[in-house]
């Protein structure tokens, strides 16, 4: 983002509440201090996703761009480059099914199609109740127990389609494994 120090007015600004603005200002400032002046954009993005329902709404990004001194276009370019970040609204829990080679050969396609059925949504979509967003993921690094998936920060391995309802139920109830 240091490419561009021009601060442009945020055109698409929708009214952010005063509390939002305060939160964003503090978030950026804390990040600046913690990282000794070299902002960690990714930490900011994950903190934002944590607060704004696993997604990065446009007006929020606009305000953050203003605060860090870059253009909304630059920040949008950054955000859309990384597949784990999302500008579209997502569910409470993001279900990431590993689609890498080892998982692919040991049954990931069956896991994915079961999840499609169980959740009633396709990849990149969110269930109508707002609980789950289904996504594919790059290698989760637990290939020894493939096929695997990760929901939020919890990983699950050696999956069979029969395991899935229980895992989803536990997550829905707010528990880990």
């Amino acid at each position: 983002m240091e490419l561009d120090n021009v601060t442009r007015p945020v055109g698409q600004a929708q009214p952010l509440s005063d509390e939002d603005r305060r939160f964003l200002r503090e978030l950026v400032e804390t990040n600046r201090i913690e990282h000794h002046g070299r902002l960690s954009y990714m930490d900011i993005m994950f903190d934002l996703e944590h607060r704004y329902g696993n997604s990065l709404p446009g007006p929020v990004l606009g305000e953050v761009a203003r605060l860090v001194g870059t253009s909304p276009a630059q920040l949008n370019g950054f955000v859309t480059f990384y597949t784990m970040l999302s500008t579209a609204p997502r569910g409470k829990h993001v279900v990431r099914v590993c689609t890498s080679g080892p998982c692919h050969v040991s049954g990931a396609p069956a896991i994915l199609s079961s999840l499609r059925q169980l959740l009633g949504v396709g990849i990149g979509e969110t269930t109508p109740d707002g609980e789950f967003t289904l996504e594919g993921s790059s290698c989760l690094g637990i290939c020894g127990v493939s096929p695997a998936l990760m929901i939020d920060d919890d990983a699950y391995g050696n999956l069979t389609p029969e395991d899935l309802p229980r895992i989803l139920d536990t997550k829905r109830a707010g528990g880990a494994q």
């Binding site: 983002m1 240091e2 490419l3 990282h35 000794h36 070299r38 902002l39 960690s40 954009y41 990714m42 930490d43 993005m45 994950f46 370019g77 950054f78 480059f81 990384y82 597949t83 784990m84 970040l85 990431r96 890498s100 080679g101 080892p102 692919h104 050969v105 993921s137 790059s138 290698c139 989760l140 690094g141 637990i142 290939c143 020894g144 127990v145 493939s146 695997a148 990760m150 920060d153 990983a155 699950y156 391995g157 050696n158 494994q177």
Partner: protein, 594 residues
């Protein structure tokens, strides 16, 4: 008084197999028997044998219990610890000899390994800096701080250590370039963006032995004159991030990071930066841009990161496994390092065994070990009595090693000679049922997704190649496709800017080189010899075997199967969607797939 220690593998894979609940049962049982003060339960990093998890090892005996569940974990306490009897049902049984292994020393998967990079993984509690120190941890940092930077770099040059991230560039030369570069401040970066599908050694080191990386980065800081280090780790590895962050805190507390380390006046600190699902960020210049908060697109080299890296300052960037070797080289010397491995590639290499192989997991062997030793002696061979076909190395940037090369010693140079790369050490074993055209298509699809889009040959060229591969697998291959693929592949290799693009055609080129006959079968005969490519399959019913049970007709989603009860059924080829469900459901083996 502690009389026993229970080491519970808390690697990423064992956690998914229920390690936490097993540990809870062990702790509860110890209390129930009133021996919680005599037996210590320690959660360690990955022990490597991921398919045997959760693993519990009882010391001092070293008894190796595998596939422990919440239902039988209590036996380890009530039988082994209280009554002194080994729990036979939890021991590992060697599949061929059916002998029970008492300790890991009796299991071929372990006995043939040489653990250097992974020496602490599974042996110590990664959250305990004391345990790391007890295993000579931070000794190398102390020693390095008494050496001159030039002496440190000389040791690395003498050791012949080559970068474990894939390219195999001599590490000492990288350090020398960063040392000699003008500019201040300088930075030390660790590449923990292990994106290669199927490779997870970096994850295991970060989760199982985080202090070894901190120590190595601090040594690097002293050697090149940097006071700041960045650890770049993928968000797909939350546990690695958590444990590394914790380790940084402990290292600061003990004075191994921070101001005037060990009273020498040398300052160094490390910060974590996160990646978020972009494979190309494993490329060093892309990774540096990502740390700077930009899109992770690679840039032209030169200038190399050693001259102009992070924020245009001299930057040393090495991979996790490379760093993990450094403290031991400093402690034990270059000669010790060269005592295993091959002349041009000394030391060990960690491989991640996956795919159609009996024992999956992480194995560390001397460079120059043959594929046969890796797959058959350590990996236990191919399951289901099937034949070995090929091993895929280097992930989407690599190619295949065929059965003809099973006895070739594997190091950076030998694999290159046969058209693949070592890569970061992912080794996916393919059995006789694998279609090599399909495998190549799969890897190419990965690169199409992950191309950052900067260079046209990579962005558009890989897509064109992929469409051709799709056509071939769909039975629409045309005469001349193989030549077209090879020509386009060469253009992409020659004209892409970074390693991702340059190596993207490798899976296709390598499979054309060794399995051109399979490509030809797809294109000219419209057949998939391994019966994998769906559109090239024909399902039919063998009249002599069909008993007319109607199971297939009921299962068929497109009503392509007709026939009366107890009479031979038929598949209407014009309706058949080739889903294979009739093949799966038939109990009489009456469905033919060809």
């Amino acid at each position: 008084m502690i009389r026993n220690q229970l080491l519970v593998c808390a690697g990423g894979a064992c956690i998914t197999s229920g390690e936490k609940s097993v540990k809870d049962v062990l702790v509860d049982e110890l209390k129930k028997h009133g021996i919680e003060d005599e037996v210590q339960v320690i959660e360690t990093g990955c022990m490597g044998a991921c398919d045997l998890g959760p693993i519990v090892v009882v010391y001092p005996e070293g008894t190796f219990y595998q596939k422990v569940t919440v239902k039988n974990a209590d036996l380890i306490v009530s039988e082994h610890l209280v009554k002194g009897r080994t729990v036979g049902e939890l021991l590992y049984t060697e599949p061929t000899s059916e002998k029970k292994a008492r300790t890991s020393g009796d299991i071929p998967f372990y006995t043939r390994q040489v653990k250097r990079v992974l020496r602490n993984c599974g042996a110590i509690d990664p959250l305990s800096i004391e345990e790391y120190i007890a295993r000579d941890g931070y000794f190398a940092l102390g020693k390095a701080l008494e050496m001159t930077p030039d002496d440190i770099i000389q040791v690395l040059l003498d050791s012949g250590l080559r970068g474990r991230g894939g390219a195999g560039f001599p590490t000492g030369l990288k350090w020398k370039a960063a040392r000699e570069a003008n500019g201040s401040p300088k930075y030390v970066v660790c590449n923990g963006d292990e994106g290669d599908p199927g490779a997870f050694m970096d994850r295991s080191v970060l989760e199982g032995d985080p202090h070894s990386i901190i120590e190595a980065m601090a040594i690097a800081g002293h050697a090149i004159g940097a006071e700041k280090g960045y650890m770049y780790v993928r968000a797909e590895y939350p546990l690695a991030m958590e444990r590394f962050e914790y380790a940084i805190g402990k290292a600061r507390e003990y004075g191994f990071l921070g101001q005037s380390i060990l009273g020498t006046g040398f300052n160094f600190d490390i910060e974590i930066r996160i990646g978020a699902g972009a494979f190309v960020c494993g490329e060093e210049t892309a990774l540096l841009r990502s740390i700077e908060g930009k899109r992770g697109t690679p840039s032209i080299k030169p200038p190399f990161p050693a001259q102009a890296g992070l924020w245009n300052k001299p930057t040393l960037i090495n991979n996790v496994e490379t760093y993990a070797n450094i403290p031991q080289i400093i402690t034990n010397g270059a000669e010790w390092f060269r005592s295993v491995g091959s002349t041009k590639s000394p030391g060990t290499k960690v491989f991640a065994l996956a795919g159609n192989v009996q024992n999956t997991g992480l194995v560390e062997v001397p460079m120059g070990t043959t594929l046969r030793e890796l797959i058959f002696d350590i990996g236990g061979g191919i399951p289901g009595g099937k034949k070995f076909k090929a091993a895929q190395t280097g992930g989407p940037s690599g190619g295949v090693i065929t059965g003809d090369y099973l006895d070739m010693p594997i190091d950076f140079d030998t694999v290159k000679d046969i058209g693949t790369i070592m890569g970061s050490g992912g080794l996916i074993v393919l059995d006789e049922d694998s279609c090599m055209v399909d495998v190549a298509k799969f890897y190419l699809g990965f690169t199409v997704d992950e191309s950052c889009g900067k260079c046209t040959p990579c962005r558009e060229g890989t897509r064109q190649m992929y469409q051709m591969m799709e056509r071939i697998c769909d039975g629409k291959g045309r005469d001349g496709d193989i030549e077209k693929l090879s020509r386009l592949a060469n253009v992409i290799e020659d004209t892409s800017l970074c390693g991702l693009g340059q190596s993207a055609p490798n899976p296709v080129l390598s499979t054309i080189r060794f399995y051109e006959d399979e490509y030809r079968a797809h294109i000219y005969e419209k057949k998939c010899p391994s019966h994998v490519c769906k559109h090239l399959l024909i399902y039919s019913i063998m009249p002599d075997k069909c008993v007319g049970c109607t199971a297939c007709a009921r299962q068929c989603p497109v009503d392509a199967i007709t026939g009366e009860v107890k009479k031979t059924h038929m598949i209407d080829q014009s309706k058949c969607s080739k889903c294979g469900s009739c093949y799966e459901v038939c109990r009489f083996g009456a469905i033919r797939k060809e």
